[in-house]
């Protein structure tokens, strides 16, 4: 069972419960299931059945239903089979002691007619424990997690450890833990039993043991609390007891408490009768909990008892579950640069996320199982309720292109083809992988790579009609595409095919300057303002022929990407005065000038392509996508250099964004009455409720504060004005490569030292790149040479002249970029690049009211509604996704404050940080 969420919270009486008000999809093997919790923190399905008899159920993970959704548990089957309401107050990990305390605490809040107590036999041992072992997800360390427990003093139960201590003690060596019934040792024993199949439970045969003595006392306490109500005791057997058809020896002990209104049920025998090792339909393979079939069997046993002995009435018909009429479509992007998934509901993009955020592997290209799980969770939809799954690649065309490539390079072709085979096989088998990894049985479709980008840009844009321009490295054959969008129709008008690719040309120069292809391009763009475009003529004379319509032809004599591995060759190096810059070495003036030159050439090509798109489409608006659309410098030039009146740049223009576009294209091609719903923002990832946040903070026993609701923005603004650097985590995670205010590190841009402080103490990099500003949309013209919204940080424009204080051209002469970048050149020094430009992100009240409020409060204090916004991560790390990621990043760095939704932590109040992971080596440098 996997989730990126916090689903357990601290409880001072019970030790823990689930986090309230959640609807979480846990991944389980190749499948997943939803767990829904109520306001009290129990997996209690919503059921309003006034006037019905009510059963209250207590137990542990078997009763709570680990491994199955709420509706597949015996509690929920009972509700269907009997004319009654079932309240399930079971919690994973509870001993009988915690189950009985649960009953005592909540029985008054849930009026009921009958109680079912379903202890697992392992509770005999759990009841004696003061704490259980677990793993702290932040530090990776084994810890002891306290729980309440009873002892017997003079024949009387004494409750200990309440309030349950929040402090968790670490375990130095879990193998030598004195806690022999620990999570680890039990897991080990469990596996041992499953493998060895010869160890049953002689330890419980001694009815005078401490375990049984305490269990009897606890039963007496429960019976007293239940009073005259009927009580069903249904002990859950061990796995191996079932496997070896062991007689339920323990029933005799429980039956000592049997009375008229107390029944002890044997659920082991009916389970034994259908279970076999070869065909295990009773226990789930990964966790050993009950299958849906086992839950049904248990429900049958209990309902028979309730009907015969306790006069509960059976319903005549089983209610059918509501079937959703919503049209859900899942888009998938994988096996290229960034994997991702997106979910449409009736044509609206309601969820999208990159796989890297969950796996913490930057640019993870693997199958996006976690992103898919999140999308299904957000949509509250099962995988087989989807109308379609669509992926963004005509893999047969990609295979075709690679075959042509291998033939084109002659003698090296076989080697090239050999290297590509495994990767291509994965692409070819993607439908098979989808079905295998998700248990999906429905229809699967594929959309062309560039069409996916085009659809993702046009259908999410605010425009009824637009020209479409897609530019990237390559997708199948296409490297650049011009299209036209009208209403719900999309047309492809012109393309350029591999290898004549602007994206590959830019990547070749990225590679040559010592940066990583497919991730270092934005560094080259940031480096460009330091250089003089002295190589423009070289590039245009030797490397690329540019036509007036923006179409290009690469001179393959200078490139080696056709042979794979390297991007450029010796002839290329000769053009630029020597070999490529080795990674992580000093950047010289040559690299700065190359960066300036390729940036100038790129701008020329993009502008010409855009003008050609205008000419052949006649549309007044332009939408863009593909990796080159992330070049925010060239985007910024389009406003002045083309006749288009308005622009939309898809915020997830990279490969992950293809997941949105492929699904949208399928939707509009296959749904006759489809209506367009533009995407108002890029906040499409998971959010974490305040319940979950509080549970995270309390469970970890952290020192934290809660904002006063009315003062939240003001308090954050005050912290910023006092030069605190804040890790800001709020609301839904962004989809796309940029942090847009919900997973951001924010700071005061007027502090001249802030840039170097952020770089060296937070991001751990010596960066020549400035930080981006995030500002109130209505103040755009006050600070920048721009008069429109720029919500996605995809446009670079100049800082307003009136704010510049020290215009300089030093950067065009010196090699010391760090010194230059830290010079104060405007009233907003930390966000002003050496050429006086800035990467703009505007925020309005509709898109992100909570952040807008902070900006306006900051303006009251500082005079400017603008902050530094840099992604919430360290170099090489994916942007933080969940609460734990944010907390770890905060503790690993020198941030001053961490805001987690409506809560905040102050670094100086936190304990010393010590963790197992050597995170500085974990993240591969980009």
């Amino acid at each position: 069972m996997k989730t990126f969420r916090q689903i357990i919270r601290y409880d001072n009486l019970l030790g823990h419960t689930y986090v309230p008000n959640q609807n979480v999809r846990l991944r389980y093997g190749n499948d997943g299931y939803f767990i829904k919790t109520d306001q009290h923190g129990f997996r209690n399905s919503e059921n309003s059945l006034p006037g019905k008899k009510t059963i209250l159920l207590i137990g542990d993970s078997f009763t709570a239903g680990d491994g199955v959704p709420n509706e597949s548990r015996f509690s929920d089957f009972l509700q269907k089979e009997l004319d009654c309401k079932v309240i399930n107050l079971a919690v994973s990990g509870f001993g009988a002691d915690q189950q009985i305390l649960t009953y005592e605490k909540f029985s008054d809040q849930f009026p009921h007619d009958c109680v079912i107590f379903a202890p697992h036999l392992d509770d005999l041992k759990r009841n004696l424990l003061e704490a259980r072992e677990g793993i702290d997800k932040s530090t990776g360390k084994a810890t002891l997690i306290p729980k309440p427990y009873f002892t017997i003093d003079k024949d009387t139960l004494v409750l200990n450890n309440v309030p349950v201590p929040m402090e968790r003690n670490g375990i130095e060596d879990s193998n030598e833990s004195p806690n022999t019934n620990s999570f680890f040792s039990r897991a080990k024993n469990y596996m041992s039993r499953r493998v060895l199949k010869n160890q049953l439970h002689p330890e419980f045969s001694d009815t005078n043991s401490a375990e049984w003595t305490l269990m009897h006392k606890l039963l007496e306490r429960l019976i007293h609390a239940v009073g005259e109500r009927p009580l069903i005791i249904a002990p859950i057997p061990f796995y191996d007891s079932v496997t070896y058809k062991e007689e339920p020896f323990y029933l005799n002990e429980f039956q000592k408490h049997q009375q008229n209104n107390i029944r002890v049920l044997d659920i082991a025998t009916p389970i034994n009768s259908v279970h076999s090792i070869e065909n295990d339909e009773i226990f789930l393979p990964l966790c050993g909990h009950f299958t849906k079939k086992a839950h049904k069997l248990v429900a049958d046993v209990i309902s028979a008892e309730l009907r015969s002995s306790l006069s509960f009435l059976m319903r005549e018909t089983i209610q059918q579950e509501d079937c959703s009429t919503d049209n859900f479509v899942l888009g998938i992007s994988c096996f290229y640069h960034d994997s991702g998934a997106a979910l449409l509901k009736n044509g609206e993009v309601i969820a999208a996320a990159q796989e890297e955020r969950f796996t913490r592997v930057k640019h993870d290209k693997a199958f996006p199982g976690n992103a898919i799980n999140y999308c299904l969770e957000e949509g509250r939809v099962g995988i087989n309720e989807l109308k379609a799954i669509v992926y963004y690649d005509y893999e047969t065309w990609t295979i075709e292109r690679v075959l042509h490539n291998s033939l084109a390079i002659g003698g090296k072709g076989d080697e090239f083809w050999g290297k590509a085979q495994k990767s291509l096989f994965a692409k070819l088998k993607l439908p098979h992988i989808i079905r295998k990894e998700t248990n999906y049985e429905g229809k699967i479709f594929k959309t062309q790579h560039h069409v996916s980008h085009a659809a993702g840009a046009f259908y999410t844009s605010p425009f009824e009609e637009a020209a479409i321009l897609v530019i990237d490295g390559v997708g199948e054959w296409a490297c650049s595409t011009i299209g036209s969008g009208e209403g719900t129709k999309l047309e492809i008008l012109a393309q350029q095919h591999y290898p004549h690719s602007l994206g590959l040309l830019y990547s070749a120069l990225t590679y040559f300057c010592g940066f990583k292809v497919n991730s270092g391009e934005y560094k080259l763009m940031g480096l460009a303002p330091y250089g003089n475009p002295t190589f423009v003529d070289t590039i245009k004379e030797h490397l690329v022929d540019i036509k007036d319509d923006g179409s290009i032809f690469l001179n393959l004599k200078y490139f080696s990407f056709l042979e794979g591995e390297r991007m450029t060759n010796d002839a290329f190096a000769a053009l630029f005065g020597g070999p490529e810059r080795p990674k992580e070495t000093d950047i010289t003036r040559r690299e700065m000038d190359i960066a300036a030159s390729i940036q100038a050439v790129t701008e020329e090509i993009v502008i010409k392509m855009a003008n050609h798109a205008y000419k052949i489409t006649g549309k007044k608006n332009l939408v863009m996508s593909g990796g080159v659309a992330l070049n925010c410098v060239s985007n910024g030039k389009l406003y002045d250099a083309t006749p288009f009146t308005d622009f939309y740049f898809q915020p997830a223009s990279g490969d992950a964004g293809g997941a949105v576009g492929c699904a949208l294209n399928w939707y509009f091609e296959n749904v006759s009455d489809a209506k367009r719903i533009n995407q108002p923002n890029a906040y499409l990832g998971p959010a974490f409720s305040n319940d979950e946040t509080a549970a995270f903070l309390e469970t970890k026993d952290l020192t934290f504060h809660k904002f006063e609701k009315q003062n939240r923005a003001a308090e954050i603004a005050e912290l910023l004005n006092n030069k605190n650097i804040i890790g800001y985590f709020d609301g839904r995670m962004e989809f796309g490569p940029r942090a847009l205010g919900n997973r951001s590190i924010i700071a005061n841009p007027m502090d001249v030292d802030m840039q170097s402080k952020l770089n060296l103490k937070i991001k751990f990099r010596e960066s020549f790149r400035p930080f981006a500003p995030i500002f109130a949309e209505e103040r755009t013209q006050d600070y920048f040479d721009f008069d429109r919204p720029s919500p996605y940080m995809l446009v670079v424009r100049n800082v307003k002249d009136s704010l510049l204080i020290n215009p300089s051209t030093d950067h065009l002469e010196t090699d010391n970029m760090i010194e230059v970048v830290n010079q104060k050149r405007s009233e907003l020094p930390a966000i002003t690049h050496v050429d006086n430009s800035a990467r703009l992100q505007s925020v309005n009240k509709d898109q992100n009211k909570r952040f807008h409020d902070i900006l306006m409060e900051f303006e009251k204090r500082s005079g400017k509604a603008v902050l530094i916004n840099t992604s919430f991560n360290v170099r090489g790390e994916p942007i933080v996704c969940n609460l734990n990621d944010a907390y770890k990043c905060f503790m690993r760095t020198n941030m001053d404050v961490l805001v987690l939704n409506d809560y905040y932590l102050i670094k100086s109040e936190q304990s010393d940080w010590d963790e197992i992971e050597n995170w500085q080596e974990t993240f591969e440098l980009d």
Partner: protein, 92 residues
């Protein structure tokens, strides 16, 4: 036999843009390639090629056959092995 990787610049060309074939639908079912038997799969792949001279097809058929006859389910397992990361939630 024409290779579709264009390496030599066409003479006197005013533009390198090409006009793609008109297509009614850009999203198509994956069903044709969801078959296991190698020869049928190869034919299904070839049937979807749209940028290959007919004369090249026999050579590509051989390459595809050789390729797919050596690939197994285990090759797919390797794809994901790098990313298997345990982030089982902290239940206890």
């Amino acid at each position: 036999m024409k290779n579709s990787i264009q390496q030599q610049k066409p003479k006197d060309s005013q533009s390198y843009w090409i006009t793609p074939d008109a297509s009614e639908k850009f999203s198509v079912a994956s069903t044709p390639i969801e078959i296991e038997e190698t020869e049928s799969l190869v034919e299904a792949i070839l049937a979807e090629f749209n940028n290959t001279d007919e004369l090249l097809i026999p050579e590509m058929r051989i390459k595809l056959n050789n390729w797919l006859s050596t690939m197994t389910e285990e090759d797919l397992e390797l794809i994901n092995s790098e990313k298997i990361r345990d982030f089982i939630y902290e239940m206890f």
